[in-house]
Amino acid sequence: MPAVSKGDGMRGLAVFISDIRNCKSKEAEIKRINKELANIRSKFKGDKALDGYSKKKYVCKLLFIFLLGHDIDFGHMEAVNLLSSNKYTEKQIGYLFISVLVNSNSELIRLINNAIKNDLASRNPTFMCLALHCIANVGSREMAEAFAGEIPRILVAGDTMDSVKQSAALCLLRLYKTSPDLVLMGEWTSRVVHLLNDQHMGVVTAAISLITCLSQKNPDEFKTCVSLAVSRLSRIVSSASTDLQDYTYYFVPAPWLSCKLLRLLQCYPPPEDGAVKGRLVECLETILNKAQEPPKSKKVQHSNAKNAILFEAISLIIHYDSEPNLLVRACNQLGQFLQHRETNLRYLALESMCTLASSEFSHEAVKTHIETVINALKTERDVSVRQRAADLLYAMCDRSNAKQIVAEMLSYLENADYSIREEMVLKVAILAEKYAVDYSWYVDTILNLIRIAGDYVSEEVWYRVIQIVINRDDVQGYAAKTVFEALQAPACHENMVKVGGYILGEFGNLIAGDPRSSPLIQFNLLHSKFHLCSVPTRALLLSAYIKFINLFPETKPTIQEVLRSDSQIRNSDVELQQRAVEYLKLSSIASTDVLATVLEEMPPFPERESSILAKLKKKKGPGAVSVSELEDGKREGGELNGGGERGSDPSAIAASNASTPSPSADLLGLRSAAPIGSAAPSAGSLLVDVFSEAGPAAPSSGANDDNFLSSAPSSSSLGSEDPAPPLPESDELLNKFVCKNNGVLFENQLLQIGIKSEYRQNLGRMYLFYGNKTSVQFTKPVEPLVEGGAQVQQVINIECLTDFSEAPLLNIKFRYGGALQNITLKLPVTINKFFQPTEMASQDFFQRWKQLSLPQQEAQKIFKANNAMDTEVLKAKLLGLGSALLENVDPNPENFVCAGVIQTKAQQVGCLLRLEPNAQAQMYRLTLRSSKDSVSKRLCELLAEQF
């Protein structure tokens, strides 16, 4: 047998590789490489002509350097020169270099093609193969133009060597895939098909890939391949394990060729010719029989090879879907594998059974395995196996077992891996709807879904439950009662509030007779959730309230009171403010009749295909996913938190709008285009509402356009002097508050300003405490006056509309004695305040980390430690930042990683953080990745000042 010693043939190369391996650092390696590159360059440029051996050696070194990840910008010409050498080893290196470093330089392509042409014509099988492999590896359009005519000739010529035929067949396949218009089979078709009969199994193995591809594109022209494939398969299947000698692998005759033959047959319907079909069925039966025979070897290779054929045969049986006997046998065989000790087999059996479940002949047989599959869902260690089990349960579900399957999936969902939760939720929702016999079960299921996995319940799901409740009057009373009960839970998911608000607004009257759910109790229950909800949910609730006024006139005063309160009627959100104003007005001026007409119960929705199904299809695209999906990691990253950036996916929105009411609870169809500029100033990207009557300080418009301090009506009367520029130390003061929310913002001899703040999602509230340190009253323009030694408080409601980098400014003016004091500070509102922590496991973290790998998504800083590098202090700071500090995620325990989502009104931005302290150097490396470049950058700036 051949043996190869280290780098034999090219000593210089082996020495060079050893040198590189011995380099202690990246720098040393680069130095060594540069030295080598200089040496090679001088050799190539030198006056002395290089012999073939040296040229080969240097080109090979260049290739090695390239494979290490360094750019190579010369040596192409020398490589091309090697192609015309008549020594195999030199030619081989030349071709390898060309194949790895494809170069579209037209001058070279011409030379390369010339060399290939010569080799193809050389009649030397070794050279011909090298040339064909080069074409197959590069597969460029230019090569197709030059050789697409020649290669079929080589492939079918009588005197072509077997190994050349193998290469020619696959070379042609590559050209056909890249430039189908240039590969014209026409006259060659029948001779190519007959390669299936070739004596040499290797030729058949290679040619069949070409034939399969061509058959998929032109099934009619190639259909004679079916009978040839069947007879070839039959000969292999019925052969003894020793018959095929070289092609027997661990006692299995020609496993790969068998698989390819079975795959080819899947391009066609069952053979029409009775004899051919009979022979094929016999083959398939033999394959199924062999699975029951005792193994000829204990080696896993033996069973794998045997089962590779078996699974391919089952695929063909499923593809035909016409032989009940075979389908049931296939199902029984897979049933055995479900309990096999090999995880691979269990996985593949689940996967394969999934397709069997959709056949009418085997559906019942699949269903008999339900307990095993449920058990797999509960006990498998590998998440991908559990995923397959969930898929199979979904596929085998019908009216008879829906309740059991849905219940199992729901209970699995409680502990399911984050990566598959959303899909599981969709599946449960679809099954519950599809197989609902009584709709109370459906309502219970969906509410359970929201309870268990609320974060993963997409809009489509809760829209759908509302549609169904509205369309079916037999379930409305039950739905009202159930949501009412569900809302009693102290902590219920926001989606539950949405469903509850909508349903009680429509059908609360159906349960109002019960004193335990009287109108006022219903209202108070809903309203107790109001303050914890996001803007769209609040908008929905406001609509539910006005509906209550219609349903239950006795609630009118209470609800009007709520609508009239400042937090509604002067809300910084235009939509909320408008709803409050309009509903209040409507309820006060409209007569009962008008009110009843306007607020009538929603009409039934037109029946449409469930939008959830569309969503699931979209999520789990069929096998035929295009290459462009390779670039599609980012979208998944956005879904970090069960819905992160879904809004940015236009098709998702379109899908939901098509069949469901608008998300902000369009109960009344009142939702119009937001009246921009009419209710609140909307120019700034960050809007801080300061209610002037709440405090003594005179807020004023910040100088920066990005930050808009919209002050209350009196802002124009706030004294004539312009606000002072921010204090020089204001940045430093700001930095103190990045990781904390409370403290003293500013202090001088006269004044102390304390801050307390709290944030939730994209909203915040900040209390400012102004303390007069003197014994003298502060006077105008401050209103009210601040007595000496006293403290007044101001409340600021904050809403983050979009991400920002400049903090809003706070301008304070007052008179102390006679002198006007004019101080401008930065309000400590930074983007990280709107962090929602996200817990995730190591695998998820790094997967998302990789998905956010565009250069602009990352911001990195390396900086010196300003404080002692105390782990506990670091942890506290990172916690204060607002994201989740993830333990046991980074393989290096010294490092810290965090994850969170920045909530702004416009969008949610998933962020990942990694802080790598280097105690020795007293340095940190901080890396931020997020789906938005400005966020990564800003967070990185802010944080770099903290440690």
Partner: protein, 142 residues
């Protein structure tokens, strides 16, 4: 169809990368890192298959080396799993008890072995005897 073949060690160093579809260099680097991250976290009780973007990876670990083949979702898992083993047995025979260093020092020969067994993303030759005979022949040429 095979989209790419990767041989990596546990530290993530690539010992062979063979691409059967067009990727630019940055994308290749990304794929290499991703495959490493996906495969190395799995233990022996896991399957030898992982979903990967819109493809799947069939892999097997031999000592410190991961042999990974990225194929289409509908492709036959076990056939490719054994194709890896068949390839490894050829390498083992050719390099007489192959080790990682053989692949480093003879990287240009490994490409030849690959091209003998896989071409254009398809299985070209499966007979170990035939492949080794051909390699022996090439070895004897100058």
């Amino acid at each position: 169809m095979i989209r790419f073949v990767l041989i990596q060690n546990r530290a993530g160093k690539t010992r062979l990368a063979k691409w059967y579809m067009q990727f630019d260099d940055d994308e290749k680097q990304k794929l290499i890192e991703e495959v490493h991250a996906v495969v190395t976290v799995r233990d022996a009780k896991h399957t030898n298959f992982v979903e990967f973007r819109s493809f799947k990876i069939i892999y097997r670990r031999y000592a410190g080396l991961y042999f990974c083949i990225c194929v289409d979702v509908a492709d036959n898992n076990l056939a490719y799993l054994e194709a890896i083993h068949n390839f490894v047995e050829v390498l083992n025979e050719y390099f007489h008890n192959v080790c990682e260093l053989d692949l480093v020092f003879n990287f240009y020969k490994v490409y030849t072995v690959v091209d003998e067994m896989f071409l254009a993303g398809e299985i070209r030759e499966t007979s170990q005897t035939k492949v080794l005979k051909q390699l022996l022949l090439l070895q004897s040429l100058d």
